[in-house]
Symmetry: C2
Amino acid sequence: MSLSGVRALAFDVFGTVVDWRSTIIEEGGRLNREKGLDVDWAAFADAWREEYRPSMDRVRRGELPWTKLDDLHRASLEKLLDEFGVEGLNDAEKERLNRVWHRLKPWPDAVEGLKRLRRRYILATLSNGNVALLVNMAKRAGLPWDCVLSAELARRYKPDREVYLMAAELLGLKAGEVGMVAAHAEDLLAARQAGLRTVFVPRPLEFGPGGAAEAPDPSFDMVVEDLTDLARRLGL
Amino acid sequence: MSLSGVRALAFDVFGTVVDWRSTIIEEGGRLNREKGLDVDWAAFADAWREEYRPSMDRVRRGELPWTKLDDLHRASLEKLLDEFGVEGLNDAEKERLNRVWHRLKPWPDAVEGLKRLRRRYILATLSNGNVALLVNMAKRAGLPWDCVLSAELARRYKPDREVYLMAAELLGLKAGEVGMVAAHAEDLLAARQAGLRTVFVPRPLEFGPGGAAEAPDPSFDMVVEDLTDLARRLGL
C-alpha cells in the first residue's frame, strides 16, 4: 500500500469530501420552519441524489447537450418539488435551495486531512460538480484545494475516461502520478483504467444510517478510514 | 472608483502578480555559476519575454494549433540558447530552466494583498500560463487562489474575448460581476470589451529599472498602487 511516484491527489467531492445528505436535511428543516412546509428532507435528499446519475447519463449518452450540474440539479429539483407536493416557493427560493449543493458541509475529518495532505501533494478536486459550485463550496468550507478541476472543463461526466485524462494533462503529470481519492468504487475503477492510482475512502454514512456501504475493490492502491487516516499513513 | 457588484477578481499573473524578470535573472545567475556560463540573464529574460507575444499570436491567428505556454516557452528557449551562444545544457537542464516560469516570485505586496482581498472576493488567476504552471507557482509562492483559470481551458490566448467570457461562465457570474486586475492596458481593454470590470496595477519595474511603464486608460474602473493598496481602498 503506497503511492510512490504520485505528485497530485484528485478528489471526488460529493460523498467523499462533503456530506450532501446531512446538509440538505439541515437546510431543508430550516426551510420547513420558515415556509411552514412539512417535507421529509431525508427522503427528498435521497431522491435528489437518485436523479443525479440518470440525469448525467443523458448527457453522457448524448441525449442532452453538455449541461452543467447546477442545471441538472435544478431540473431534478423542479420534478421533485412537484412529486413531494411542495408549493409556495418562488423562483429565488428554488434557486437558493438548488444552490444548497454549493454549501455542502465537509465530513469532520476532511479539512484537517486535506491540510496535512497538501504539505506534500498537489490537491485538486475532480468532481462532476461545476466549477462555480466547487469554488463556492471550498471558500465556505475552507477546503484547501490547489486547483479546482471539474467534469465541466472536459464537458464530459465521470466515469468517462476523458475526465481523468484531462486532470493529469492539466496538472502536467502522467496519469500514474495522479491518485484519485473517492468513496465510490465505480469512480476509482474508471480512474484506474485511465492509468491513475486509486485511494478508497469508505463513507458508510453517505446514504444515511441505513444506507448501503460500498466495498473496496482488491485493485485499489490504498484503502483508508478517512482523510486524516490517509495523511497519517502517508507520514503527514 | 468602486467595484460595486463585483464578486470575483481575476488576475493577470506574469508581471501583475509575479516578477518574471528578477526571478529569471536570479536563477540564471545561479546557472552561470554552476555551469561556468557567462550569460547576461537580464538580456536573456527580456528576449524570452519578447518572444512571448509573437509566439502566442501564431496560435491566436491559427498558424499553430493550440499549444500550451510551457511548450511555447520551450521553443523560444531553444532559439534563444542558440542566439545567446549557450552550450552544454542537456535536456533535463533545459527543461528545468524552462520551468523557471513555474517558480516566479511574487511582487512584495502580492501575497498579503491577495490574502486580504480573498476575505470578500473569489480570487482567480486569468493568465495565459497553463494550469500546471499556475498551480506549481501558487503552491511554491503561497498565492491563495480560490480557483486557477487559464487560457488553456479556453484553448485561446488573451486578449481573445473568449478567455474573459470563459472566466465569468466558469465562476457562474455575469461578466460585470468579475473584475480583471492587470498591469497591462491591452489586457484590461479586452476584458472591458467583454464586459468585465477593470483594475490597473502599475508595475513600473516589470521590464527592469529602465523599462517602459504602462499608462492607465481613463476607462478603467480603478487604478491602484499595488495589491495591498487595492485591498485598502476596498476596505479590506
